[in-house]
Amino acid sequence: MRIWGTEYSFNDRWECIILAAFRKYPNLFNPAVRALDVLDRRVDERGRLISRRIIGTSWSPPSWAIKLLGLSRMPMTYVSECSVLDLNNRTLTLKSTNFTLASIIRIDETLTYSVVPGDDNRTLLEQEARISVFKLPFSGSLENLMADRISSMAGKGREAIEEKSELIKRELESIGNHTDSS
């Protein structure tokens, strides 16, 4: 298993960043994400918003791995994601795992958005991925390849969040202006 992790601080309030996180897709930075559905959404007994989503991506393992495993090229790879939005602790945690090819490759990813301690105007994103490739003699190199890809995707994901966050701020400003003038 390969474990990869990173941290990043956004210069925006947590409330704005989590709204952006829920509206992250579609975006130009992650064109592989083609479809997204909500399978379940409820507020639990602790008042937390629980969501389960399925994400369809055009991502596929490298062609040499597909050939070696005797697979046919897949039109869509599915990822299952469960998130918990906790207003009391001001955290949003999203955990995802791939659903397609789960017996060969397993990528468990966790993203947590929280307020930077002592700074209400900044939001901390902690991201971790655990990558396991099973039943293959070269699993280590494939795990490293996946980690490199996740690392590059993480940067693009943050850009997408920042773009959506700017959009939400503009929306909020226009609502504010509208309210002021009415």
């Binding site: 997204l36 909500v38 939005l85």
Partner: protein, 91 residues
């Protein structure tokens, strides 16, 4: 964002609009009534989606399986932390 099935996309986007508005204007202000605000749109969307999941060949029970440990937090192996890499903190 599109649904995994084209035929559900319209219902999905109608629900999404309701949800995004509810999240921003209600939930973040402390009103937790998701079903009261968007339940009807969610139900219509789910009828379409459940059918689409079958057509795509996915198993809904597997998708709903709580393998992600949301309710029961997984205990973290402290040894794993040592393997962390790529620490970055851009401010």
């Amino acid at each position: 964002m599109d649904s995994i099935s084209d035929k559900c996309t319209e219902l999905k986007q109608a629900y999404d609009s309701c949800f995004n508005k509810w999240l921003q204007e209600k939930f973040l202000q402390g009103d937790r009534d998701h079903d009261g605000a968007c339940g009807e749109l969610f139900s219509k969307y789910q009828v379409c989606l459940r059918e689409a999941i079958k057509e795509v060949g996915l198993n809904l029970d597997d998708l709903m399986d709580d393998h992600l440990g949301t309710d029961q937090e997984k205990t973290e192996d402290p040894k794993d932390k040592e393997h962390r890499s790529d620490k970055e903190d851009k401010k």
